[in-house]
Symmetry: C3
Subunit: 378 residues, 3 copies
Amino acid sequence: MKLPKEFSLAEIAAVAGGTLEGPADTKVDSVALDPFNAKSGELALLFDPKLVKRIRDCKASAVIVPKGVSTDLPKVVVERPLLSLARILSAVKPKRFRPEPGIHPTALIDPTCRLGDNVAVGPYVVVGPQTVIGNNTVIMASCVIGGAVSIGQDCLLYPSCLIDDYVQIGNRVILQQGASLGSDGFGYVTERPSNVERRMAGVTEASDEPNPLIKIPQIGTVIVEDDVEIGSYTTVDRATMGATTIGKGAKIDNQVMIAHNTRIGREVIIIAQTAVAGSCVVGDRTVIAGCTGVKDHVKIGKDAIIEGMSGVLKDIPDGALVSGVPAVPAREFFTQLAHINKLPQMFKEVRELKRKLAELESLLPECQLVKQGDNAGN
Amino acid sequence: MKLPKEFSLAEIAAVAGGTLEGPADTKVDSVALDPFNAKSGELALLFDPKLVKRIRDCKASAVIVPKGVSTDLPKVVVERPLLSLARILSAVKPKRFRPEPGIHPTALIDPTCRLGDNVAVGPYVVVGPQTVIGNNTVIMASCVIGGAVSIGQDCLLYPSCLIDDYVQIGNRVILQQGASLGSDGFGYVTERPSNVERRMAGVTEASDEPNPLIKIPQIGTVIVEDDVEIGSYTTVDRATMGATTIGKGAKIDNQVMIAHNTRIGREVIIIAQTAVAGSCVVGDRTVIAGCTGVKDHVKIGKDAIIEGMSGVLKDIPDGALVSGVPAVPAREFFTQLAHINKLPQMFKEVRELKRKLAELESLLPECQLVKQGDNAGN
Amino acid sequence: MKLPKEFSLAEIAAVAGGTLEGPADTKVDSVALDPFNAKSGELALLFDPKLVKRIRDCKASAVIVPKGVSTDLPKVVVERPLLSLARILSAVKPKRFRPEPGIHPTALIDPTCRLGDNVAVGPYVVVGPQTVIGNNTVIMASCVIGGAVSIGQDCLLYPSCLIDDYVQIGNRVILQQGASLGSDGFGYVTERPSNVERRMAGVTEASDEPNPLIKIPQIGTVIVEDDVEIGSYTTVDRATMGATTIGKGAKIDNQVMIAHNTRIGREVIIIAQTAVAGSCVVGDRTVIAGCTGVKDHVKIGKDAIIEGMSGVLKDIPDGALVSGVPAVPAREFFTQLAHINKLPQMFKEVRELKRKLAELESLLPECQLVKQGDNAGN
């Protein structure tokens, strides 16, 4: 990856927040994507212990390494490699094409809206009545924002984000392409008990009589607090009453579904294709890995880790590490797996036990005869 | 939640379709989101038996409760709490910002389209040739509708819905933000048998020769019957031939995938992030809970319940309640789980059985000696 | 399904690439969706061996069948039914409504873009600076394309596709409605070790001190090679550095998530609602069935088959057929299932073994007495 200019290793050390070890005037003009195909003039990042072991194979002009790595290459030693990476990438990131401050002539902003200073609104954006947008916020092409929405300062909305009426968004929020906030929560009821309800109450015969699903109006909203990032095509539904809430600093990946009335805590991380059903509570800093499902009304504590592809059906305490469907403590999950893997062996052992026991039993009558004979002989 | 005006309890009873028990002129001006933090002037809803038990802790001015709840608070007693909730929310729902009847000057409607009375089309909507839109239908900003589409009366399309050519939509259909109807079904074939096909036929060595995937044209369509609701970023693919069909009154949540040629029955409920593969049939009133996958060509009967995160690989009869991957009757699924949970204990018991049996066997030769000795002594 | 005109069976045989058996002038004017409800004048396709068995019930005027089917109906015999289907559907497909070559007056194309010959750009499309679009490419309504993007020749972008800056798209690529390429990869780091990191390092007490998540800039891009098709609302994230890559001829269904830095091989097939996490490699021609999750940094070989709803946590070799969560060879998975299904029976057997063994043990002391008595009697 070509850098925007040539950097000295001293400059790299300053940006990365690391310690220079080697000639300060070593020059690099690109970052090697693969440290083991690095060429002269390239800087290689060797953060992973598995890669560090192979550092002799690295032909880069300089390396960035964690503490304790021995190499003769000019190097910058860093404490927290990922943090240094974030700093370096921030320093070298290429220009992105975003609308300049001002309202594109094709953007349709209702005259009752209030916009802060330096707001940038791209082409074909539509904003409904009474909406408020804070200073320096950038709204890219084709976003559709309803009425009475509030969006804070320094936000960045990528193209085609869809924000329905009354949604409240804090400061420094990033919405990736097509994030959808405020569509209706999913709730219906029938006039008379439905077949499903009757079945749950023990009535097994189903009725074919019309008993249509009636929509329960979803009159609540969505609140997204400061510093949240929401991924592409993630949907956050409005609450039936009150608000579905995404806590300060939470980061939500693409294609995540957050259902009505759910409250996501602060600094929570939710990875792609996870669905959190209605009326759940997820505690601060909890991480929910990808493709997970959380049942409605479940409470997940803070600082918990839900491993990927889990199905959370019950409350999870603070700090728990869970896995599986239904999710159980990860240790238990791996014990289950280990036992399941040993089932063929165990079935064999049980068959063997049966065989041996049958053999023993076939001998037993003789034993008993002996006993009886012995008694008889007394 | 603030109500739009102050209501008397008599008015609430009328709206909720319940029986007033207490002073008719009790006034409420808001609904308590948490019944146990309700204040004077608030109305609390206590529907859940778990909440009802704690009714003494409720300090609301009035409550709505199901039959048989004993409390001194002014109350409205209702038969079907959720139905009453739907009625109350309908009565108090705040104004939503939707386009007025008429065509926004920026909407591009092909001159060959036929639009009914009172149709409202928002800004930047695009509608292709020969499309027909029924009376009172509202199409919000930035929807893109293809050619020869038909949309019935009284429909509501939220922003950025994408409807491709020939799709047919009934009356009173609601499409949430970004619903996608009529994208191509997923079907390919190779000129010669692919490695996967050859493998399935027992040929294990793979070929690297070019044998590209050829698209099977998807020339069918999508039919959405009356009273259907489809969620945000749900996709319904067009059929290869014929039509993918969503039956009357079905309700589909966000991020659901309905593949080509599948037929969803009437009043079916499908919850978020479920995928129903191609050529499936789902019977009337069946409920498919979230994050479920249904294999192609599967037939699910009517009035069935598919629990969340299931994987349906085989046909499911009418009225069945299934769970798991692969989905089995829920009772069987929970039996499986219970047995899996007991595996560590059971492995221990088998080890113990082996130990005891070995002990017995080590004694047995002596027993046999006895027997022989005894025989010898005869 | 009505055909655009009447065809003779000879014409059908020519289009399908099959052998005519029966009168060449047999006429058909439509294709039967259900071969067993076919009427006179209809052509029925009987590809599936299950359907072929019932061919006597087919009243169509002509049939298309694979080799070896015996029937008196006029027929076209084909080698590869699906391939013939693709050819027939190509021949009879109805007109689709797409923008004509030229730039719609409402499309906003930055003056620094370079467009090839015969490019068709629909209404309300937005294209950023320095973007290049190849000959004959069609970009439908409301697509939003960033700056410095390159799109090849003969591509088809359905409405509302979202392509962010720097993304590179090859020739003959099809993007279904709302495909999203180039949103940011999901990467964050904290200033100090987070509670999750500390927990992983054995520190169990969590800290409530502020330690916010810092975004790792995602400065790489997405490369989509020639002949790729990407489904509706699928998201392909840009790389942290370098490129997330979709290989030549790969076909990706709706609502799939491809995370940053992942490399999808050539002619790979990925079915709906699958998520492939970051930095994975998927080998050529591998098929990943629907609703599957692949953990980050996993390498899947070529010509492998990952069955639906699997969770791939470890590397998968070339040609493997895997299933389950975690994914194991399919044979192993079905063995696991079979054993799990037999657990109730097996638990019963173990209880029976315990009972019998206890019985034996209760007899044993007598046996031993016998033995002792016998000894004593010597």
